[in-house]
C-alpha cells in the first residue's frame, strides 16, 4: 500500500488525506467525485471498498515515518516521487468508477464459458458458482445458444484478446475453465513479485480493459449477452435525475418531483457532468472559464459575488477541467 499511495499523486504535490480515503473505498459524494476527477483519480474510485480507516491511517503514518510523505493541515504532501500509477500499463486501463461490478461480470463470464465449453452436451464440469444470481442468469444465456453463436463467442474473445498485450490476455484467459482445462486463480497467473495491492489493481485493470472494450463495441454478441449486468453500473438515482432533466430542465422542479433535496439533485447533475462527455454545459449559466476559478473556494467567491450558485460554480470548474483535458489530448 505504501508505494501504491505514493503512485497516486501523479502531477499533484498534495492530496487531501480524508478525500483520498473516500476515493479508495468509494464513499461517493459530488465533492469527492469532483476532487477525484480534478486529480485524475476517478478511475480508481471504490477500488478498495473494504479498506479500513485505521489501516489506511497506519499506512500513511508509515510513509510519514519513512519521510516519503508529510502532512500539512489535512493534506498529504509528497516528499518522494513515484511514477503515476494510472499512466502505466496495465493500470491505465482501470475503469472502476464506470464498471464497479467488473469482477462479478468476470465471474459470470467464467461460468458462462465453462458451461458453453460442454454445450450442447450435458455439462460435466465443476460447479464454479452456486448462488442463484450466477446460476439462473447463465442458465438463461446458455438456453439461447446455438452453434453459430458459440462460434461467434470464440471469434469475439479471440478478437478482444488480440487487442490486448499478450501477457494481459494470457492472464485473463488462464482463469477460464472448460472441457479440457481447469481454470487458474488470479494469484496463480499474476506476474511475479506483484505484491498487494498492486495484484488487485493488476487484476482489475486487465478485467476492466476487457469490459471497456466490450462496452465500446455494442455490436458484439458478448455485449448483448452481458448488457443487463453491465447496465447495472448505471442504474443509479443520478440516471433518473438525468432523464427528468432532459424533459423538465429545472433543478428545483426535479427536486419537488423526486421529493429529494435540491442539494441531492445538484450532486446528481455534478456527477452527470463529470462522467458524460455529452453533458449540456450550455444549459447552465456558467461563469467565465477562467482557470483561476479552480483555486477559489465557493465560500470566498460568494463574499464577492453572492448571486453565484454552488451548481454554477462547480459546473464551471468541471467545464474548465474538461477543456484542459481536451487541450492535453
Amino acid at each position: 500500500m505504501d508505494e501504491f499511495i505514493l503512485a497516486l499523486f501523479g502531477e499533484n504535490d498534495k492530496l487531501r488525506m480524508n478525500t483520498l480515503y473516500q476515493i479508495l473505498v468509494g464513499r461517493k459524494s459530488a465533492s469527492m467525485l469532483y476532487y477525484a476527477y480534478g486529480h485524475q483519480l476517478l478511475d480508481i474510485v471504490g477500488i478498495f471498498p473494504h479498506l479500513s480507516k485505521a489501516e489506511y491511517e497506519k499506512k500513511i503514518q508509515q510513509l510519514i515515518n519513512q519521510k516519503a510523505l508529510s502532512i500539512v493541515g489535512n493534506e498529504l504532501v509528497r516528499v518522494q516521487i513515484q511514477p503515476f500509477l494510472l499512466n502505466q500499463e496495465p493500470y491505465c486501463h482501470l475503469n472502476h468508477f464506470r464498471i464497479k461490478n467488473s469482477l462479478s461480470l468476470w465471474r459470470m463470464l467464467q461460468l458462462f464459458l465453462c458451461r458453453l465449453s460442454y454445450w450442447p452436451a450435458e455439462y460435466q464440469g465443476p460447479v464454479l458458482e452456486n448462488s442463484p444470481f450466477y446460476l439462473l442468469n447463465v442458465d438463461q444465456m446458455i438456453a439461447q445458444m446455438d452453434e453459430e453463436q458459440k462460434q461467434k463467442i470464440h471469434e469475439e474473445l479471440s478478437h478482444v484478446f488480440s487487442q490486448m498485450p499478450q501477457d494481459q490476455a494470457d492472464f485473463l484467459a488462464n482463469t477460464f475453465s472448460g472441457k479440457q482445462i481447469s481454470g487458474k486463480t488470479f494469484y496463480q497467473v499474476l506476474p511475479e513479485d506483484l505484491h498487494s495491492p498492486f495484484d488487485i489493481c493488476y487484476t482489475l485493470a486487465c478485467i476492466e480493459r476487457f469490459w471497456s472494450y466490450i462496452m465500446k463495441h455494442t455490436e458484439l454478441l458478448l455485449f448483448q449477452l452481458f448488457k443487463p449486468f453491465i447496465l447495472e453500473n448505471y442504474k443509479q438515482s443520478m440516471l433518473i435525475t438525468r432523464k427528468l432533466y432532459k424533459s423538465v430542465h429545472d433543478v428545483q422542479k426535479i427536486a419537488q418531483l423526486r421529493r429529494l433535496k435540491e442539494g441531492t439533485i445538484n450532486d446528481h447533475i455534478i456527477e452527470w457532468a463529470i462522467i458524460d462527455e455529452q453533458f449540456p454545459f450550455e444549459d447552465f449559466q456558467l461563469l467565465a472559464l477562467d482557470k483561476s476559478l479552480l483555486d477559489y473556494r465557493y465560500k470566498d467567491l460568494i463574499q464577492v459575488q453572492p448571486e453565484i450558485s454552488f451548481l454554477q460554480y462547480r459546473l464551471t470548474q468541471i467545464a474548465i477541467l474538461k477543456g484542459r483535458k481536451k487541450n492535453e489530448s
Binding site: Q110, L111, V127, L128, H154, L172, S177
Partner: protein, 464 residues
Amino acid sequence: MNHNIQQVLKETFGYDSFRGLQEEIIQTVLANQDCLAILPTGTGKSLCYQLPGLLLEGLVVIVSPLLSLMEDQVNSLLQMKKFSAVAINSLLTKSEREYVLTHLSEYQYIYLSPEMLSQPECIQALSRQKIALFVIDEAHCLSQWGIDFRPEYRNLKWIKRQLNNPTTLALTASAPPKVKAEIKELLLNSEAKIFELPVNRPNIYLQVEKTNDKEAALLKYLKKLSGTGIIYCATRSQVKDLYERLKSDYAIGFYHGGLSSNQRRLIQTQFQKNQLQLLVATNAFGMGINKPDIRFVIHYDLPDNLESYVQEIGRAGRDGEPSIAILLYQNHDEQIHYYMQNQTRNEREVFELLDVAKNGEQKYFSELQQKWFRQIQREDYHLFMEEIKDNEKVKQEQLQTMLAYIHTSECRRDFIARYFDNSLPGKQAICCDNHGPFDYQLLIKSKIQNEKIASWQDVLLKIF
C-alpha cells in the same frame, strides 16, 4: 423401507452398500427419531441426511459452521445434478436471499450458518415450510465455538421449536464425552440415539516433530513425501508466506477464507484433479472436501485443541492407503493461543465491568461484545457470563491436552483414543513416532509438475 433405501443408495448415489453405521443412522432418522452420529472423516456423514432427504416429505435444513463447508456441500449436491440445494449466507446479495426465501419449496436442501438461521426472516420463512429433517453438521462446533465466539449456536434449541420440532440429526467426526453431552442436551430430545465409531484411523501414521526451525523441517519432510498433501497454518498471512516460499519448487495453491468463493472453488478443483501437489490452507479448507488420496497432512502451526487436530488429519488417506500426519512444533508455538485466550478474557472482563445488564449497549462494544449483548437479550445475563468463564477454562484445558499430545512418550493413538473415550486400538502396523519410524516407501509415488501459463490462443482452443 429397507428395500427402498438400498434402491435409492444404488440408483441415486451409485453405491452398492452402506459404510459403517450409515444404514442404522438413516433408519433412525426415517423413523423420526433424533440422533447423534459420531463418525470419523471419510465414513460418509453427508449421506446420512442426503438420502433421507429424498424419502421424507419436506425440506432438509442443514446448519453448517463455515461458508466454505456450505459451498462444498452445495456444490457436491449440484455436481450430482439430481438435487436442488442452496446455501443462504453472506455471499448472497440481499435480493438473492429474498429470492431464495420466497422460493424455499423449490429446494430440497438448505444450508445456513447459525447466525443466518437466527435471523427472524429466515426463521419465519422456514417455519412456513415442512421441515423433514434438521441437521447440525460438525456439531462439535456447538461446544468449540458455541458460547463465546458464536453464541448463536445456543439458539438452535429455540429455533428447533420454532420450526415445529423437526427430527434432528447432529453429525460430527469427533466428540469427547463432555461435548457429546452438550450436543445431546442442547439439540436432541431425551430419547435420541447415539451412534459412534472410534476416531482411530489405522492407515494414518502420527508424527510430531519438535524443531527449532520449522521451515527447514517442513522442507526436509516435503523431500521425503510423495502424493498430494495439505499444509495447515494458523493465519492467512502464514499461508501466503509459505506459498511464496514453496511456489517455485512445487505445484502448489493456497486456500483461505479471504479468497472469493469462485477462487476457492478453482483451487479445490485443481487439487481434486491432482493438478496440485500441495495445498497450503487455513482451517477454512477441508471440512467438506472429498478427496480420497490425500497422502499427508502437515500442521505448520499448533492447533488449539485435539478435536480440531483429529478432524484435520482425518482428511488424509480416505482411500485406506498408508498416509501420514505430521505436526511441526517449535517452542512457544502455543503463545498465539494464550494471546487469543487473553484477548477474549479481557473482552469479557470489560463487558462485565460495564455492567451492561444495567447500562445497556455501549457504542464502543467490540464485535464479540455486541454478539454477547444480543445473546443476553435472550437468556439470563449471569448464567451466560458464568458459562463464558467456564468455557475459558475448557479452552485452557484443551490447549494443555494438545501440548500433552506433543510431549507424550506413550502411543499417540492410545492418547487420542483415551481422550475421546474410545477403547484402545491395540498394536497396529502403521502407528506413530513413539512406536518406530514411518516407512516413506509406503506412500504411493506420484509427481505433479508445476503447470506453465498457457497462451490465450491455446486456452480458447481447449474451451471451444
